[in-house]
Structures are given as structure tokens and as C-alpha cells.
Amino acid sequence: METQAKKTVLERSTDFIEQKIAPPLLRLSQVRYLEALQRTFITLMPYMVLGATATLILNLSGLFAAETGLNMPGVAKAIDSVITPCRPWLVQIVFVTINLLAMIAAMLNGYFLGDHYNKKDSNVTAIASSVVAVIAFLCFIDFSQLSANFDWPAYILGSPSLFGGLLISIFAVEIYRLLIGRKITIKMPEAVPPMIASAFTSMIPVCAVIILCTLIGQGLGDFDFLSILNKATAYLVVGGSGPIAQGIGFVLDRVLWFVGLHGSNIVSSVMQPVWTTMITDNINAFAAHQEIPYMFTEQWINFYVRCSVFPIALLCTMSKVKRFKVLGKLSLPGTIFNIAEPVMYGLPIVLNPLMFVPWVLGFAGLYVFNVILGVIGITPPVVAMTVWTMPTPLASFIGSGFNIIAPIITLMNIAIIFFMFLPFFKVMEKQVLKEEEQYEAELGREK
């Protein structure tokens, strides 16, 4: 009887990641609240990119201003003369996107949570949950103050209330669906058509949620529940925004990718509310010409550290191995737009012991290096969002508010990634070439 082959270090560590590290994270990302959140932020993304871009354009001339910017008042004036007529439109776009972030998030989160419960109880519908969630959130807003404080960027329906809005929407949908599930509803006599009866089903649950939220939101005198919630979550964001918390997230992302799972997607399902608050606070601070609060944003990781696997695809195109060359040609255009999968699975980096070193350890080192650049103030913080397929040097240039240092740092990091992978790629190339030679030699013998 054959003894079972001893597991290699790689197999054992892969097993460990697949069985011990990934499952709890996956379970976490599939918690209904986080799943609803993920879908909420996916839906929000285009509006946020649009709002951030409008903010950026509004503040374009500041970059060339005499004291604060590049000291090119002529250019600043020229830009101003173009932007000023468009100003009302741009401001309007910012208002309906970023300044309503919390309200729209509460609405979407309610919708997706309702969609989840709809699969279990057909009486709970997504749209009804969405409406009850957004109105429950508005119960916490003091409307007599609302128009007076219609100021941008600290607007109460915007990013300061993002966490509060999400929590209130969860609270509202939970009570709503519990009451419906317990059949605490108005029951119509049998003779009433179902269409009409169902309209009355949500009567009691909706009243209960809205009255309860109004009492908590407005009925407690000077006790402003929402602003207390907002302050508490601000601490949470500060806690999750440091380089260590972000670094743990980033290394997990690399490790998960190494076993072939979409690490970024799994990690972001947990980090997204913190990340979104960070970048919108940055956008708002930028618009208000204040100091930018957060350096280590999600965009900072993406634009400066993660960059793309472009350098690896480039190595492939220059390779002597035919398979790598084909892969390089196939994947290079995609990697410019941050599509990594062909390289990840084709080379592969996934489950390739040689590649573990540059992919996990190398990137961790690059992360630390960039944290240092950020801490000593060389890296310009990101103050705008872009679509994720934007080439990273361009993304960091735009994201930093057109600071020329940003793309230089990104390009430098891309060069570092290239040289980080180069020695390991060469070793792998040699191995493959050797295998090919052997294979051809064997073919020759058979002839």
C-alpha cells in the first residue's frame, strides 16, 4: 500500500487559508446586512463618482491660485471664466449626489434588505421596505432646521449621517418585517379582494415604525439622537482609517487573491461604510478648502499601492516562454484598466509558491513603504473618486486634485512592482523552459 504523499508547505498553507481564514470572512460578507450594504454601495457608485468629479471641477482654479496652488493666477482666471457660468449646474450635481448620500443609502439599504426578506416572506416587499427605511431616517431630521442649514458640505442628509442612515434603515426594516411576520396587521374580511387587503397589511407595521422613529428622533427634547450616532460613528471611522487597520485589510486581500478568491470584494464588504465615509469626508474637506482628514483611504491603496498587475503582464510579453508571451499579449490591454484575472489565473499567481513572495510579502513591503511616504507628507491625499477601470497613474493624478506628484509616485510604485516580480518571474521562466526542453527532447526520442 502506498503511503500518502506528504503535503508540501504550500499545500498546507493553502489548506489553512482556504479552510481557516477564508470561510469566516466569507460568512461575514454574506451576513444579510453586509450583503445589503454591498449592493447599496455598488448602486451608489456612479452617483458618487459624478458628485466627486463635479466637486473637483468646482475647485479646479484653486490649484493654480496665487497663494495656495501652483501660483499661476493667469491660468486660474482662465479656468474661472469657463467654470463660473457652469457653477449652478455643478453645485446642483453635488447636492443631489454627495449631499444626499445618507438618505439615498438608507433607501437602497432598505430596498436590498427587504429584497432579502422577500424570499422568506412574500408579504415583505423590497419597495415597501425601502420607503419605510427612508422615511424612518427622515424622522430623525429636524425639518425646521433643514432649510436653514442647507449648507454644503456638512449637510445632515450627506456623509456625516451615512452610518446613522444605514443603522436606522436596518432598524426600520427589522421592525417592519417582524410585525408583518407576526401577522400584526389589519385583517380584512374574506370578501375583500386580495389587492385591497394587501394595501392594508402594512398599515400597522408602517405606523409603528414611523411613530417609534419620530419619538426617538424628535421627542426627546435636546437629546439629538442622530448627531450622537454621527459622533459615535466618527470614532469608528477614525479607528478603521489608520494605516494598521487598512494594512490588515490589504494583506488579507492579497492572501485571498493568492488562493484565487476575489480578496478586494470580500474585504470591501466589511470595510465599505468606513471607506465611503473617509473619501466623502475628504471630498467635502477639499471642497471647503480645509485640511484633508484621511490619507489612508481605499483610493490611496488602489491608486498608489495596488496599482495594477500591468508590470507582470509586461514581464510576460517579454518572456521567452511561448505560453507567457501569449498570455502577456492577451492580458496587457486589460491590465492597463486594472483587470487582473487573466494574469492571476493564467500565469498563474494563484497558488504559485514562487509568486507568494512578491505577491503577498512584496506587496506588504510596498504598503509599508507607501505608509511612510504618506506619513511624512510626500504623498498627496486622494480627494476625488474615479471609476475603478481608470489607469492608476491617471486615477491618482485626478484623484489627488491634479497634483503632479501623485502620478509620479504611482509610476514609481509600478516600477517597484516590476522589479519586485522580475527575479521570481525569471526563476519560473527557467523552470518552464527546462520542462519544455525536456518535453521536446522526449518527443525527439520517440521519433
Partner: protein
């Protein structure tokens, strides 16, 4: 006509594979409809699909999706096939699974 649905996170990297799969299908004279979607669209596209192929990076979704759609064929695309954007291989995998 068979409907083949590919799913990854944003529907981007699978869309690369889709065009290669369509070419392979044309070369084989195999009539089918192949499309790529982001994972967020899964609930609306899966009910209409004959087979659902997941990008290997989202294979962790397969158990959950199989629970939700027990009658559907749902499987992850082979890593190498995916990496080399091997449309022929992916189409072959889909046809094999549908015939079984």
C-alpha cells in the same frame, strides 16, 4: 437556443472571455447566447440561464447560489481556462456540463 451566463464581480474580466467563447461557438456552428454579468445582477439573470459559469475569483458564491437555485447548473470556470482566456475550453466545459 442555450443561454450561457458568466458571472464575476463587475462582469469585466468575464466579458473578456465571453467574446472568445462566442468566436469558439461560431467556429463550431453551435448556436447559443453567451453573456457576462456582474454578481449584483445574479438574481435577475440566473432564472433565465441554462448554465451559470462563475469566474474562479467568485467561486465562493457557488454554494450560496446553488442553494438559491437548486435546479440550475452552476459551476466555477477552471482557473487555467479562465486565465488564458480560453474561449474554446470554457465553451467545451459549458457544453459538457449541460449534456450531463
Amino acid at each position: 437556443m442555450k443561454k450561457i451566463v458568466l458571472i464575476c464581480v463587475a462582469g469585466m474580466s468575464t466579458s473578456l472571455l465571453v467574446s472568445h467563447m462566442r468566436d469558439a461557438a461560431k467556429a463550431d456552428n453551435y448556436e447559443c447566447e453567451i453573456n457576462a454579468y456582474p454578481i449584483a445582477d445574479a438574481p435577475s439573470v440566473i432564472p433565465k440561464a441554462d448554465i451559470v459559469l462563475l469566474g474562479p475569483q467568485v467561486k465562493y458564491m457557488s454554494n450560496k447560489l446553488k442553494n438559491e437555485y437548486p435546479e440550475k447548473i452552476i459551476e466555477a470556470i477552471d482557473m487555467r481556462v479562465y486565465g488564458m482566456i480560453d474561449g474554446k475550453g470554457a465553451l467545451a466545459q459549458a457544453r459538457r456540463s449541460m449534456e450531463e
